[in-house]
């Protein structure tokens, strides 16, 4: 079973490699076949990720390394609760986005290349989430973001090219920071396997070089997840992409290649209970709180539908980081495990919810643009009569992001606010409430100008979007509702195990021991006290 884990990467990769050949076949048949192939691959991945739920922790050693009794010379794929959660999220959104693309992308040229890039981006995200090796995380992150650079410019309009250029420059800089961090850690530990690096770092006093490495990772992944003050590229890049890609970028890419990687490395490699853990946690909290507030303030004044959504992405990801950071701070201070667990739970729950409702919102904005040809809020209005499905879904998503019960956003925000307050950060909890209120206001504006009001001349004669797009949107809307009301049912399978990975941070290093490790780490074996520090 564990040997099948690489299929999560190789299936979309192989489909992506085949896709460009479709253009040499007959024009219509080629495109249709590639579309079907992509959808099939997406469906397989979704089924696979659902089947994986609750199976972890599983480790797959690639290439048959190590043989029994060997050190960790090879690469490993690791599945634990957090990975399962991210895999399900990524592949669900990807499948629905592929379904949506079925009609949407027919308005573009070069469809075949679109599917090729989409599938490879998906493979890259799955690779990042599964990987158990620092450098491997870097490589697959590059795969995912490299495809996204090209996809942002897919329409090759002026604004799209400019956005893509900004994105690629900041993206390369952030990737290189990550690489520098990997190099520093390799110098210090002689290992690249995350579990082994974690064991090494736990066994010695943190030196300035360790802080520098942590700083590099924060810079790199902070840029990738568009935390304020590293956010400048996101409001340009995400709106410029075709709508299903916007949904993928905002919905899952900034999570898989940004927040997930940052949390995995800070919690499971550097360790929150290490002497400097409190500093890491406060960095996360500060970034989160800044993003939360500044993102929503910038969103208020936007009149471009997708740009407004992009600013809300920054703000909502701020919630996630704030909550996880508070969890880390409680852990670092040796506080109550329950509060830490609650905070991390809230953060991860919000991460999933954000993927669902922000994906839905971007798909809705795409549907509006598809039907009317504009995304300027001034020119829209009165769509609820002609586009019932789209406006219904848009309304559900807006209620979810604004935190109105019974949708999923309400529950995760409530948990976050309660956990932050319980940890003693009353100011931050107040800010979270304030931001939630501002989000509500902002989405009342969206409702008012897009769905309500009198139809403008551009929107008088619009028709509902094609069926596959409706199906994708309705699917996500149902997700918004079910994730909220069925929380008691799914939390123990989906989110609690993921939260435990972060709160029992040493478990990651301890569970995934290589068959032996006296070969690799004689230093640790020589120091008995360091062994005892790991439970």
């Amino acid at each position: 079973m564990s040997s099948l884990l690489p299929l999560f990467v190789i299936v979309p990769l192989a489909a992506g490699f085949i896709a460009p050949l479709g253009q040499f076949w007959n024009q219509t048949h080629g495109a249709r076949t590639v579309r079907a192939l992509a959808l099939l691959a997406g469906a397989c991945l979704l089924a696979g990720s659902l089947a994986l739920l609750g199976r972890g922790p599983v480790v797959c050693w690639i290439g048959g390394w190590p043989e029994p009794g060997r050190a960790t010379v090879g690469l490993s794929l690791v599945v634990d609760g957090l990975t399962e959660l991210l895999l399900v999220t990524v592949n669900t959104i990807a499948f629905l986005a592929l379904l949506y693309s079925w009609s949407y992308v027919q308005r573009f040229t070069g469809q075949v290349l679109y599917y090729c890039l989409f599938l490879i981006m998906l493979a890259g995200m799955n690779g990042v989430v599964l990987s158990g090796d620092l450098f491997n995380v870097f490589v697959f992150m590059e795969v995912a973001v490299m495809a996204s650079y090209a996809l942002v410019a897919f329409g090759v309009d002026r604004s799209e090219l400019e956005a893509s250029f900004k994105y690629i420059i900041l993206g390369s800089v952030s990737s290189l920071f990550v690489l520098l961090g990997v190099g520093l850690l390799y110098n210090l530990t002689g290992q690249l396997n995350m579990a082994l690096v974690a064991q090494h770092l736990a066994a010695r006093e943190p030196t300035p070089a360790v802080w520098l490495a942590a700083g590099c990772f924060v810079m790199g992944f902070g840029l990738k997840s568009a935390m304020v003050p590293f956010h400048a590229w996101l409001p340009d890049a995400h709106p410029s992409a075709p709508a299903p890609i916007s949904a993928m970028l905002s919905g899952v890419l900034i999570k898989a290649a940004g927040v997930y990687a940052l949390c995995r490395i800070l919690f499971n490699v550097f360790g929150m209970t290490s002497p400097t853990g409190s500093a890491y946690a406060h960095v996360l909290m500060t970034l989160g709180a800044l993003s939360m507030v500044i993102g929503v303030l910038l969103a208020i004044g936007q009149w471009d539908f997708k740009r407004l959504l992009a600013y809300h992405s920054i703000s909502q990801m701020g919630y996630v980081l704030l909550s996880i950071g508070v969890g880390g701070a409680v852990l670092a201070a040796g506080g109550s495990k329950t509060v830490a667990g609650l905070a991390v739970f809230g953060g991860l729950f919000h991460l999933v919810n954000h993927a669902v409702f922000k994906g839905l919102l971007f798909l809705c904005s795409g549907a509006v643009e598809y039907a009317t040809g504009t995304r300027d809020l001034h020119e829209l209005g009165g769509l609820k009569k002609n586009m019932p499905a789209t406006s219904g879904c848009c309304r559900v998503a807006a209620l979810a992001i604004a935190g109105v019960p019974p949708f999923n956003g309400f529950f995760s925000k409530l948990i976050i606010i309660v956990a932050v307050a319980a940890a003693g950060y009353w100011m931050l909890a107040g800010m979270a409430v304030f931001v939630s209120f501002m989000t509500l206001l902002s989405f009342v504006k969206v409702q008012r100008y897009v769905l309500e009001g009198t139809p403008a001349h551009t929107t008088a004669a619009v028709r509902e979007v094609p069926f596959p797009m409706q199906v994708a949107m309705v699917g996500l809307a149902i997700g918004c509702l079910l994730l909220g009301v069925l929380a008691p049912l799914h939390k123990d399978r989906l989110i609690t195990p993921a939260g435990r990975v972060l709160t029992d941070e040493r478990a990651y290093a301890a569970t995934f021991q290589p068959p032996t490790f006296d070969v690799t780490i004689p230093e640790i074996a020589a120091r008995p006290d360091s062994q005892e520090r790991q439970p």
Binding site: F135, A153, R158, L161, E162, S164, S175, L179, Y186, L192
Partner: protein
């Protein structure tokens, strides 16, 4: 600061020059060159991790050294493998950046980033 740290610091200086070009210059081609310099510096930094004094290349020829003597003198092959990967990734990145630059020039008629301003950041 000892001699042993000096190469790292010089690599860091190179890195900062790259960052300076990216942040302070207004020309698209210059910015791309800044990214290239940054890539070179990081590759250099990784390479410095693998060297040991008097080290030889990690390639064996028939009838030279036995494995133990080789393992005691060879430099570390792992950073080299990492750098190879990173060089290729850098080339891919450069290809995309150049394509974007060409395309931007076609659309805007200039390499000046301050005059390419459709979006308000």
């Amino acid at each position: 600061m000892t001699f042993g740290t000096l190469p790292y610091v010089l690599a860091l200086v190179l890195m900062l020059i790259g960052l300076y070009v990216i942040v302070a210059k207004k020309n698209i081609i210059k910015i791309i060159l800044g990214v290239l310099i940054l890539e070179h510096s990081i590759n250099l930094f990784l390479l410095l991790q693998g060297y040991r004094h008097g080290g030889t290349a990690p390639i064996r020829a028939p009838g030279q050294l036995d494995t133990e003597a080789f393992a005691a003198t060879s430099v570390d092959p792992l950073p080299q493998a990492l750098i190879l990967t990173s060089i290729v990734i850098g080339l891919g990145c450069l290809a995309l950046m150049v394509c974007l630059a060409v395309r931007l020039y076609e659309r805007f008629g200039t390499f000046d980033i301050t005059r390419i301003r459709e979006l308000r950041g």
